[in-house]
Symmetry: C2
Subunit: 378 residues, 2 copies
């Protein structure tokens, strides 16, 4: 037999599955939005993931369907399952990544700690939530937001008046998600892989440093996390994985509050930016593990290869030219750092690559990773 | 700018360049002998590397030409250089990998220790060599041999009578290479990367365990090599790299004699089986380093990621079915081992994959690697 995995979406997550697929001799096919996608090196078909026929035809060519993103509509996901295709993660799990209000309801059912929240359908409900929560709210559009898009911190309901107008026009009786502004000391992330059989493997919990709502750096493992923090993060992620029935790799983004609680912030039902360090820093990368998990193969070990791994995103990239233009200088300066170029044109704020450093001295590792990434900015 | 590397030959060495090319955003093109080659995932053109026009057209599409094997004829290599293409390694360096007699002459010129040898044109010369060297000789065809093919250990000249007949029929006035049967305790290999500018990086010397003339296992670093053995191996490889003007990654295969000398056995002007451990065991893999070197980019660090790395080849593969058929059992048994499947159909003696284990306890690491590889045999 041969294993054939189909990935819907041709972004950097699909791209980073290619090395793992090559190593394991897995036939990787990508359904990309357009030609010249980040994952274009894999056998790539260009087509619209919103088109049922396109997706169904693509599914015929592989053994299992998985995803570079969470935007495939539920109707298409269910049609795939009904036609007998293995879809991992499945529509029920993806639903919670697609709708933040359903996700909050599910997490509450599972007894997982989350920020205080409410689904608010109009300005009055939001005003009332703000009044009850110290004069602030974090308001999120339940669908389609990512990397800080669709998130506003407000102290007056009229700061999201446009979103309420859009809701009313949508006519589906939807609501916005309002959450307390959590007083957190830092953000953490727990990555997990789960097979259809239920077997799981967890990487160590990591610290994620955000700038402008976008992941900028990840430190693995999270400093000062040994013991209680690691255990609680693992318990939360395990409860969600089992409760939601995730298959494949998924990420739980967490707040560590100033009073030392962990609260779930977001879920991602796929390999995630906070797991990129694992390519160079763990025995099994999140991308290899995702392929193993969706194929229902035994999972790999998730130990750290270095005392500390630090991943720094290359956001935007050079103002002029390409990332490759900076290789001579960057490689000469940081011979131990691992460079990852997503093959995307530089554009302000866009994730175009990342670098990972590893070693025993955290200050030194942070310095090396930042120094390496800095070559690709400005 | 973007970097574009063209690889002539579509075997597993080209295949294992793909992950490094994906990570670094290097555009990798392969000129393969046939469709469905081991490197087929890369942008692959099928064509004959013996055909000048095919190779010249391929070279137009890339910035630098490099190789999966050493069989491209000198006339074609020189034509590429004359047309202004960067060919790395160049024809002069490749000549020594293509002709073992020229290689021995060059090594002697460089003052590098080699086994006692002679170019023998007929049975009388060989008989005389055998008489002078303890009644034995290792006889090699100067061109085209690999993995134990084209090598015979003889005590009578008539044991290679067929090769002398072939030489005579060839009519080019060639000779066979006769070497003393070296009394060696083990075989070592020293991998080096060299840029056109002359900068070099060496991995630690490794021990290579051969079975039936084929590399079966590699231990990195070679046990009991710290100090003198490592220094001498590095000096030999450095002298050859500079003396021959190699660019890219190359391997020096060495005998460690029972009286503790190192003698050069063979050269390979390309990534090599004795360097596969570096994918999982070194900060920079030989494949990433080869791409850096042929593009004249600064080289990466070559430190070990584990105290010990052990690579075991999967030779032949399963008698029935594919390597992938054994994944469930192998992955479950060895969760820390890294598996590499070359996407080639199993066939007796064929290198179809390898596994690498790493850790602090050499006995345990050897056990894990052998146990993992054993799942793919029989």
């Amino acid at each position: 037999m041969e294993y054939r995995v189909g990935v819907i979406g041709g972004g950097q997550l699909a791209r980073m599955m290619i090395p793992a697929a090559v190593n394991l001799g897995i036939d990787l096919k990508v359904l990309a939005e357009n030609a010249g996608s980040s994952a274009a090196l894999a056998a790539t078909e260009v087509g619209d993931y919103l088109d049922l026929e396109t997706v169904m035809a693509f599914a015929q060519t592989v053994d299992v369907i998985t995803f570079d993103h969470e935007h495939v509509p539920q109707a298409i996901l269910h049609a795939l399952v009904e036609a007998g295709h293995d879809v991992r993660p499945g529509p029920d799990a993806l639903l919670y990544a697609q709708d933040k209000i359903l996700m909050r309801e599910k997490l509450e059912q599972l007894g997982v700690p989350v920020p205080v929240w409410a689904a608010v359908s109009n300005a009055d409900e939001l005003a009332s939530f703000i009044a009850d929560n110290g004069g602030h709210a974090v308001v999120k559009t339940p669908r389609g937001g990512y990397d800080g898009k669709g998130v506003r911190v407000v102290s007056h309901a009229d700061e999201v008046a446009d979103w309420f107008v859009a809701l009313a026009e949508d006519g589906n009786g939807g609501a916005l998600l309002a959450e307390e502004r959590v007083d957190f000391s830092r953000e953490l992330a727990q990555m997990v892989a789960r097979r259809p059989s239920g077997d799981m493997q967890l990487w160590p919990v990591v610290e994620s440093v955000q700038r402008d709502g976008v992941c900028a750096e990840v430190i693995a493992p999270a400093p000062r996390s040994a013991g209680r923090v690691a255990d609680v993060a693992a318990d939360i992620a395990t409860a969600i994985a089992e409760g939601v029935g995730v298959t494949g790799v998924f990420a739980v983004e967490l707040f560590e509050t100033t009073d030392e609680r962990l609260l779930v912030n977001e879920l991602a039902m796929r390999p995630h930016n906070t797991g990129h360090w694992s390519i160079d820093g763990s025995t099994t990368s999140q991308f290899e593990q995702h392929l193993r998990a969706v194929l229902d193969l035994p999972l790999g070990a998730t130990g750290c290869r270095d005392t500390w791994s630090v991943m720094v995103n290359v956001l935007g990239g050079p103002v002029e030219g390409t990332l490759a233009d900076r290789y001579v200088a960057a490689f000469a300066d940081q011979p131990t750092v691992k460079f990852h170029n997503y093959g995307k044109a530089p554009r302000p704020g866009r994730k175009v690559g990342h670098v990972t450093a590893g070693g025993d001295d955290l200050d030194q590792v942070v310095f090396e990773a930042r120094a390496a990434a800095a070559f690709f900015q400005n």
